[in-house]
Symmetry: C2
Subunit: 354 residues, 2 copies
DNA sequence: TTTAGCACTCAAGTATTCCGAGTGCTAATA
DNA sequence: TATTAGCACTCGGAATACTTGAGTGCTAAA
């Protein structure tokens, strides 16, 4: 219950760090003999054994079975992440590579998030994920319409989040170019800056009045506007590179892998987890710290992406509990920041290559 | 080499079908004794054994090892699919359920494909996939622009495939509402119906002339138009419900699963496979019929989706080789056809519930 | 406080045995 | 000639026992 605060001696910290670093690399329990070869730890394996026993007693280590080496516990990882892990700084090659890939992808907000996720996945060799929160309180700031043909026109909406949403609409009857223009004007006059939940009878009546002659369209139009604002992009969570996880022995247990894949499918659950993490720093969720039981065997690192102060989504990495926290944090942070810089709308002038 | 055409006796067909049906259901080799319990096959296990031996000799069956039952070979599945399988007709409950889900998703083309894929995956309990081909020969038929703020405007393009693409553009300098309008006019006058690869110097000059005072924008604008037309939506292939495959013992072999997941990541490869299948009927690719080696242990069923005669994508199912071809075919076909009906642009009037 | 030494533990790999579902073949039967 | 009962045979998979060695905890000496 009450977490006893334990001060670890420098040597203990050194040993704990060495164990975690080693275990992150090869996934196997770490033994005292191996550690004694480490130049930094200047004592015999017997001493290390004693230290390890104490570290286990205070909950930082675990023993898979009585004659095996030690493995970090979740508490161990947490301590490592909070105070042991040394900041990983990406090599200039890595940075250059990242910049190249990010620069080549000048597509829509949606696309750029996805390709960034892919890059993250490749660079870290874990699974990358993208989250786009369900929009709330979003209103339309401007409507536009576009004549397509006799029976078809396009509705274009600029939302308060700065996104543009479009929808092709086929009407049941012939529309003149002028009609289409009028539809746009009517919408602009009645539905801008209106929360879709607050569309009431007076507004509807006004819309119908302005649509004079095209009243039939009023109801369906409102419905479409509502849907476009509410439904976001349909799927709010995407992941890339699940296959990478198969390389880690912890997921060769099919059951564990299944759990994880189920978590990926349970999009709303994962969405909640990400949304509820408010801090705009990098979030690290280790094993069972994750309220989603399916993800209790893996760790999650992500960072919210804000444009103009408002969160527009998040990107992150899912990997085994023993993932390379230092490196992943650095990569996620770097990519998230690059994205923030470039998502705000794309400069016409080439991006400043600092 | 030269495929000998073998006429199978009715009884052989019956036995083959029974074996495949059974194997599809429980994934295990089928023995003669089990088959002899089948009322339709009115003969002893010994006779069945003889028949099975012959079916194996002609390549329709295989024996995992000499003292096991028989398992369908790829040739067996092919024959089953081509001439044995009885058409599965969906129950009215299934149809009603499908309609409900499809109707509730009135989002963009992109979104509707994805949710349809999800539905397919849930209904069949295999992995669903969506493919959107790389656009070729697409041109812009109409441009529009929308003023966002001083420094930002939106570019809206109606393409020859009837899709609408948008892009928010932040300029390096202040733009009046009128400037934005002029940009649209300039683009409409110069770049409509021009293949992005054929944008040449005269066109560029004309664009610059018309942008009079905003020449700086000419080059970046062209680049953006080019990108939007070329890059499609970034990711052309999506899948849903990979975890479902883990339920099938054939994929508890991690290696096989890995292969398959790699195939999913090798988007361009899978894209080629789907694109090269021209027939607009349902395509069935069994095991090693698939040129993608990674998918030689699984089967793929998909159907191209055409809108106005032009293919706009495809949806399909990936599952183990022993997948329930009859049912999957029916579901894929039904969903594809529903999509074709509803993707062509959404009626304002409620869809005709036949 | 540290370390050398030693007895002990236990997972994982290897060898061996056993079981039975399912076969192919032969000889009897319809 | 086609079918069937009967029987010996095969071979993967489960169960069991045996071996190995990495790693431990503990004790006693430095």
């Amino acid at each position: 219950m009450s977490e006893e605060i334990i001060e670890l001696s420098e040597r203990k910290k050194l040993i704990l760090k060495a164990i975690i670093d080693s275990h992150i690399q090869n996934g196997e329990p770490v033994g005292s003999k191996y550690l004694s070869e480490n130049k930094q730890i200047a004592c015999s394996s017997a001493t290390i054994r004693n230290e390890m026993a104490e570290l286990e007693a205070s909950g930082f280590l675990e023993q898979p079975h009585s004659s095996a080496g030690r493995v970090p516990s979740e508490k161990g990882y947490r301590f490592y992440v909070d105070s042991l892990m040394q900041q990983y700084s990406m090599t200039s090659t890595e940075i250059a590579e990242l910049n190249k890939i990010l620069a080549s992808k000048h597509t829509e907000a949606d696309g750029i998030l996805e390709s960034a996720t892919k890059v993250m996945s490749v660079m870290t060799n874990y699974t990358g994920l993208t989250v786009r929160p369900k929009p709330t309180g979003v209103v339309v700031t401007r409507f536009d319409t576009m004549y397509v043909d006799d029976l078809c026109f396009a509705l274009i909406m600029l939302t308060s989040t700065g996104e543009i949403k479009t929808k092709k609409i086929r009407s049941g009857f012939v529309l003149e170019m002028n009609d289409v223009k009028r539809i746009g004007e009517a919408l602009n006059a009645t539905l801008t800056n209106v929360d879709p939940d607050n569309i009431n009878v007076p507004i509807m009546l006004e819309l119908e009045r302005r649509l004079d002659g095209l009243e039939l369209l009023a109801n369906p139009l409102v419905k479409i506007v509502y849907d476009l604002l509410r439904q976001g992009d349909g799927s709010e969570l995407k992941y890339e590179g699940v296959n990478r996880l198969l390389e880690y022995p912890e997921f060769s247990d099919t059951e564990k892998l299944k759990h994880l894949l189920q978590a990926f499918d349970n999009k709303s659950g994962l969405l909640d987890v990400v949304s509820s993490a408010v801090g705009d720093d990098t979030n690290i969720i280790i094993g069972s710290e994750n309220p989603l039981n399916e993800m209790n065997d893996s760790s999650l690192i992500f960072k919210t992406i804000r444009v103009g102060g408002k969160p527009v989504g998040a990107i992150g990495i899912v990997g085994p509990r023993r993932m390379d926290y230092a490196r992943v944090c650095a990569v996620v942070k770097y990519i998230a920041e690059s994205l923030e810089r470039s998502m705000d709308g794309n400069m016409l002038s080439p991006p400043d290559n600092k």
